[in-house]
Amino acid sequence: MFTETPIDRRKRLTENVMRIFLLVVTSVMIIPLLLIIGYLLYKAIPVLSLEFLFSNPRDNMRAGGIWAPFLGTIYLVVVSLLVSAPIGVFAAVYLNEYARESWFTRITNLAVVNLAGVPSIVHALFGVGAFVLFAGLGESILAASLTLAIMTLPVIIASTTEALKAVPMPFREACWNLGATRWQTIRRIVIPNSISGILTGVILQVSRAAGETAPIMFTGAVFYKAIAEGNLFAYNITEQCMALSLHLFTISTQVPDVTEGTPHGTAVVLVGSVLLVNAAAIILRVYLRTRKKW
């Protein structure tokens, strides 16, 4: 007959205490997130409407909607990822699939790791020097997007490298033994089986690019600019634009007597868009994983 010894009892007690402790810690982490979203939604409900999304700010930004900054953020994110995603993915493919261990790859990998940790304000100053002044792009969507691209590039390289490494080496060896070139191996086996990881890594950078204020405020984002409402092509990428993150900062701190709820509504749109894109990434990942092939 089994009877509980004092040692058993102590182990059981410790086990329960740890379980509860870990649960509490996890809850503490989730509660602020829920509070933020709940508070924002509560405050924003009165102003949230399609009209809010599709009309420009009015009365010196005290009232009206967020169309100009909303579209500006979309421009900045899309243009920056159009630059950083291909370059980042190809660079990662080169580093992981072609390059041999050498001083060049070691320095590149070191640069990737360190660039990922550079504060965004430093990227901003680099963007001013390199794109606005040296390249002569002026303060423009292009200059701001390129600055964001430089900021997201190392992270895309890192996440793509992880995705490529997840494809087992024996697959590559089998292909080489069959007389396939490296590129044939990459195109037929490596990329198709790492694409979900690669895309997830790229899509997660949308939220970073959309949320950053510092890199764009000196390189292309302006406090106010009226554009044609409802026209998706209202911006020219050689000109400046508004952006949600900067707009939120402006109406929260720089403009007096803003209509109640407008900053909250702006924040909800920013957070909501980012969550929507991230959710798309998760769905894509789940979908591609159900087709996992080994």
Binding site: F171, E173, R188
Partner: protein
């Protein structure tokens, strides 16, 4: 008869470590050459030298020559063409994450074959040669990776045959599969011998005894002895080490 493969004074180092210390031997056309020896004796390295995939190992250095049909393989410009002349079957079955059909069609497609009818015919022939056709002919579109281990190993053999190699190298092919499948593949090899030269690296000395025309015994990167299988497995091979290894009284 002209030698299919001539190896002379072949040395391979991985960094400071020697894997093959200057070995020389010939392989005859249409023979099954059994290659036996304990782990770390350089057998796998030898196969990597022959299809030049050793070039993917960054720290490996190579001296000596390997000739295929009298041509030094290091002078062959089209390394991918060379690899297609040599079929390679590795110890662990690796079904590529493609359909069964695409697994077998991979190498011909990589070589530029596009014709659907020719591919169909080739896939069927290779799967039949590998004794897998009857089990998979109704589900060629399912994933190769979902097959059982023994089936996957026959799939890799079909794949190795798909580029119609002159030399088939098998590296301990039976290590991950059941005895029944092993015996089936051994029967397949006896048939294939009529069409190609086979290098059979094996840990099972009895497998070499059953199949090999000649057998080579490797030990610590040296070729100790190569002779007809009857001699190697007799009571009187030239080297005592060979006798000890074959009879299981080794070290």
């Amino acid at each position: 008869m002209r030698n299919k493969i001539e190896i002379s004074d072949l040395q391979v180092h991985y960094g400071d470590q020697s894997a093959l210390n200057g070995i020389s031997f010939d392989v005859q056309p249409n023979e099954i050459l059994g290659i036996i020896g304990p782990a770390q004796s350089g057998k796998t390295t030898l196969l990597k030298v022959i299809n030049r995939t050793l070039e993917f190992v960054p720290e490996a250095t190579l001296n000596g020559t390997v000739k295929l049909d009298g041509v030094d393989i290091s002078t062959i410009g089209d390394v991918y063409g060379l690899r297609r002349r040599i079929g390679m079957v590795l110890p662990l079955p690796v079904g590529l994450p493609l359909s069964i059909y695409d697994n077998v069609a991979f190498a011909p497609r990589a070589a530029g074959l596009r014709s659907k009818s020719q591919l169909d015919e080739l896939v069927e022939r290779c799967l039949q040669q590998a004794a897998l056709w009857d089990e998979v002919k109704d589900r060629l579109n399912t994933l190769g990776t979902k097959l059982s281990g023994g089936q996957q190993q026959r799939l890799t053999i079909a794949r190795a045959l798909s580029h119609q190699p002159e030399v088939l190298c098998l590296d301990e092919f039976s290590i991950a599969i059941d005895p029944v499948t092993t015996m089936r593949i051994e029967e397949v090899l006896k048939t294939l011998q009529k069409e190609m030269t086979i290098l059979l690296v094996t840990n099972l000395v009895q497998q070499a005894k059953r199949l090999a025309t000649r057998t080579a015994f490797f030990l610590n990167g040296d070729l100790i002895e190569i002779d007809s299988t009857d001699v190697i497995f007799s009571d009187t091979p030239t080297q005592q080490a060979t006798y000890d290894y074959v009879n299981g009284t080794f070290g």
